[in-house]
Amino acid sequence: MKVDLSEVRKIVNQAKTESLQEGDMLVNILHCVQDHFGNFIPPEAAEIVAQELDIPLSKVYEVLTFYTMFSTKPRGKYVIRVCVNLPCHVTGGRQIMETLKEELKIDVGETTADGMFTLETTSCLGLCGVSPVIMVNDTYYGDLTPKKVREIIEKLRAGGDEK
């Protein structure tokens, strides 16, 4: 993939001007860079961030590998995050995960060969009132059953954009 580095420079400088406080904007910048590349941070971009902020590259990676939401590998068009916390667990979350693995034929942390889906787990999404819950990119789906999960996947495969 070709990485447009001037765009990364722009993002970093934009973030610098928006901050009220002089200092380290690294987490926010990484969010912006990741969004720009469609949910991952290529090594070339990480290098630019390090240069622009005048910090060692190791520092960028130290931070970016700490947080689960940042990825150094390309992820699918749809990142499916399955809530694996107790409220979802007691209301059938395990089955939801099994169904997704079966349906997508991938394990947690993997991406389908066609680049459509990445399966991840997430900490509590705070939608326990309608558990079990998953999040597909920025959209939530609640009160799930294996059947509903299959329908969602089918819809996304057919190109129906989320909800």
Partner: protein
């Protein structure tokens, strides 16, 4: 604004959105314009109304009729019947446990009538995207009072007098924290709102941020005035995109109206707020880790003291309060500390928002006075078990808390009583479990969480919790011994005493509390190799009841590992060597012929 005949409040909380609020709203709009009612009816998307299990839901004023479990078709009927003809559509009203239609009016439903709403006073009643609706409900009045009539010391005194304690979990007196931060010696000071709500099963902060973001801003500005800070940060988890969006809107509106920025309300005082977004790390809810994350570093905690009041963001004195704590501040300023103290108990004044989840009829958010008993909370407001089986235990405080068994449900809910039971108030998540839930499995579940989320900085948490998990895995796979139970206790106590931060120190709680109250269940796992709740896979088997099986082959076809065999129209058998206990066969069997047994 023209006078409207009807106002529809439609809940646009995360839970209702996930169950189809958007399509209901579109249907409403379509029908309303079809009948040219645009000028007579106003639709307001509010924050979470709390009754998540009934969503999508809405309330139509002036009568206050409460409609639930809506669909686009329901919306159409309601426009045609209710709005055009003035007839309440009964089938979408809330029905009680026996199917009776109970009061139409939202305020009179048992779920709502028992609540005392301070923190969530505006959530579900106003349009969170419109600052004027907040102002119309006395919003920013407390700020005006503080800036015009009170000195910073008086503000702190009032908060101290109210007895408000931190709602994030530990229950530290809020006024004292403010005072300590004011006394901090650094030149610059910061106010931080901890909106990194990560405890599984707790979602009250999210609801306040989404449903009433201005109350948090107002309280932070007041705090800034009281401690002498000019800048605030709200640290929100990235898992809450809607909350982030609404906060951004609120901040720019507040700037526009002169509540944020330079010379607020024409005074000398200036204050501004910036949002920082987390990136998926549970430990960042711990205050020192949160500070590190705000500074753009790995979110790892450090040793306290020094506390943030002395050395916080950029080594400056920093006040950190949680969302729910802040939301209490404007009412305390407006109505006074004495009013606040008249609610709740002596040592825990005020209210607490609880998130009811798991196997309970009315899942969602409720705000009740401190001191209410668990029984009242779970049965009278929560509606009791949703599975028909009795409630066995309730888990409070997430991975830092413990399980409270049903025989203690007369306990009043406040900081001290829960602590005595080995649980904690935590952020207020209540996860209800019935006899189908295995307590060893629950403990293991939380340990998996902690092991996963441990930041790795200190050994007791990084290695200790891993060892505890290993023992629990041994037990649930049928290889545990009695010694393991003692080992678990000893390890748990050691971690409690030696871990660096609050997350580590409380990580053994789920294990220790279940060991205390459900030791018999642990013993069955180790002595009899049996899981009474039939949850632990390695200790259960699936068997087909020959007398019920008609040989339809549905189970054999669905089995992913071909563990089921048998001829058509003859009873089938399951090979338990091959069986992975996925449960697919039980799901498809129409004759209830497949049972789970242990051992």
């Amino acid at each position: 604004m023209a006078l409207t005949a009807n106002t529809i409040l439609i809940c646009a909380g995360g839970a209702c959105i996930s169950s189809g609020e958007e399509s209901v709203k579109q249907a409403l709009e379509r029908e309303i314009s079809k009948y040219a009612l645009q000028d007579a009816v106003r639709i307001v998307e509010t924050g979470c109304m709390g009754a998540c299990s009934l969503g999508p839901l809405m309330v139509i004023y002036p009568e206050g009729v409460f409609y639930q479990k809506l669909t686009p078709k329901a919306a159409q009927e309601i426009v045609e019947e209710h709005l055009l003809k003035g007839r309440v559509v009964e089938k979408y009203l809330y029905k009680g446990p026996t199917g009776e239609v109970v009061p139409q009016v939202a305020e009179k439903l048992p779920f709502f009538s028992r609540q005392v709403r301070i923190v969530t006073r505006n959530v579900g009643f106003i349009d969170p995207k419109n600052i004027e609706e907040y102002i119309a409900r006395d919003g920013y009045f407390a700020l005006a009072k503080v800036l015009r009539e009170m000195t910073p010391e008086e503000v702190i005194e009032e908060v101290k007098k109210s007895g408000l304690r931190g709602r994030g979990g530990a229950g530290f007196p809020t006024g004292l924290k403010w005072e300590l931060t004011r006394k901090g010696t650094s030149q610059k000071k910061f106010v931080v709102c901890n909106a990194d709500e990560g405890d599984p099963g707790a979602f009250m902060d999210r609801s306040v941020l989404e449903g009433d973001p201005h109350t948090v801003l107002e309280a932070m500005i007041i705090a800034g005035y009281a401690i002498g800070a000019n800048q605030g940060y709200i640290y929100v988890r990235a898992e809450y995109p809607l909350a982030i969006e609404r906060l951004n809107t609120a901040i720019s509106q507040a700037r526009e109206y002169g509540f944020l920025g330079s010379n607020i309300m024409g005074t000398e005082f200036s204050f501004d707020i910036e949002i920082r977004i987390g990136a998926g790390a549970f430990v960042c809810g711990e205050e020192t880790a949160l500070i590190a994350s705000i500074e753009g570093k790995r979110g790892q905690p450090r040793v306290k003291p020094p506390y943030p009041a002395e050395r916080g963001v950029w080594d400056c004195s920093t006040l950190i309060n949680n969302v729910e704590t802040f939301a209490n501040i404007p009412p305390i300023i407006l109505k006074g500390a004495d009013w606040f103290k008249s609610i709740g108990t002596e040592n825990s004044p005020g209210t607490k928002v609880f998130a009811l989840a798991g196997k309970i009829v009315n899942t969602g958010l409720v705000e009740v006075p401190m001191g209410i008993t668990l029984k009242e909370l779970l049965y009278e407001i929560g509606g009791g078990s949703s599975t028909g089986k009795p409630i066995k235990a309730v888990q409070t405080g997430g991975p830092s808390g413990g399980c409270i068994p049903a025989q203690y449900f007369d306990t009043p809910v406040d900081y001290d009583s829960l602590q005595k039971l080995g649980a904690i108030m935590g952020s207020g998540g209540m996860i209800v479990m019935d006899e189908d839930d295995c307590m060893v499995d629950v403990a293991k579940f939380f340990l998996e969480f902690t092991v996963d989320e441990s930041c790795g900085k200190c050994t007791p948490c990084r290695e200790g919790t891993r060892q505890m998990l290993r023992i629990l895995e041994k037990i649930t796979s049928g290889e545990g011994t009695e010694e393991d139970l003692y080992e678990l206790e000893a390890l748990g106590e050691t971690i409690k005493d030696t871990a660096l931060c609050g997350l580590g120190q409380t990580a053994p709680n789920p294990v220790l509390s279940t060991l205390e109250y459900y030791r018999d269940e642990y013993e069955m796992h180790v002595k009899e190799k049996r899981c009474p709740a039939l949850k632990c896979k390695d200790l259960t088997r699936y068997v087909i009841d020959e007398s019920k099986c008609v040989g339809c082959t549905a189970c054999a076809r669905v089995c992913p590992v071909n563990a089921i065999s048998g001829e058509v129209r003859k009873a089938h058998v399951i090979d338990n060597e091959k069986c992975v206990r996925c449960g697919s066969c039980i799901e498809v069997c129409r004759f209830n012929a497949i049972n789970k047994v242990s051992p």
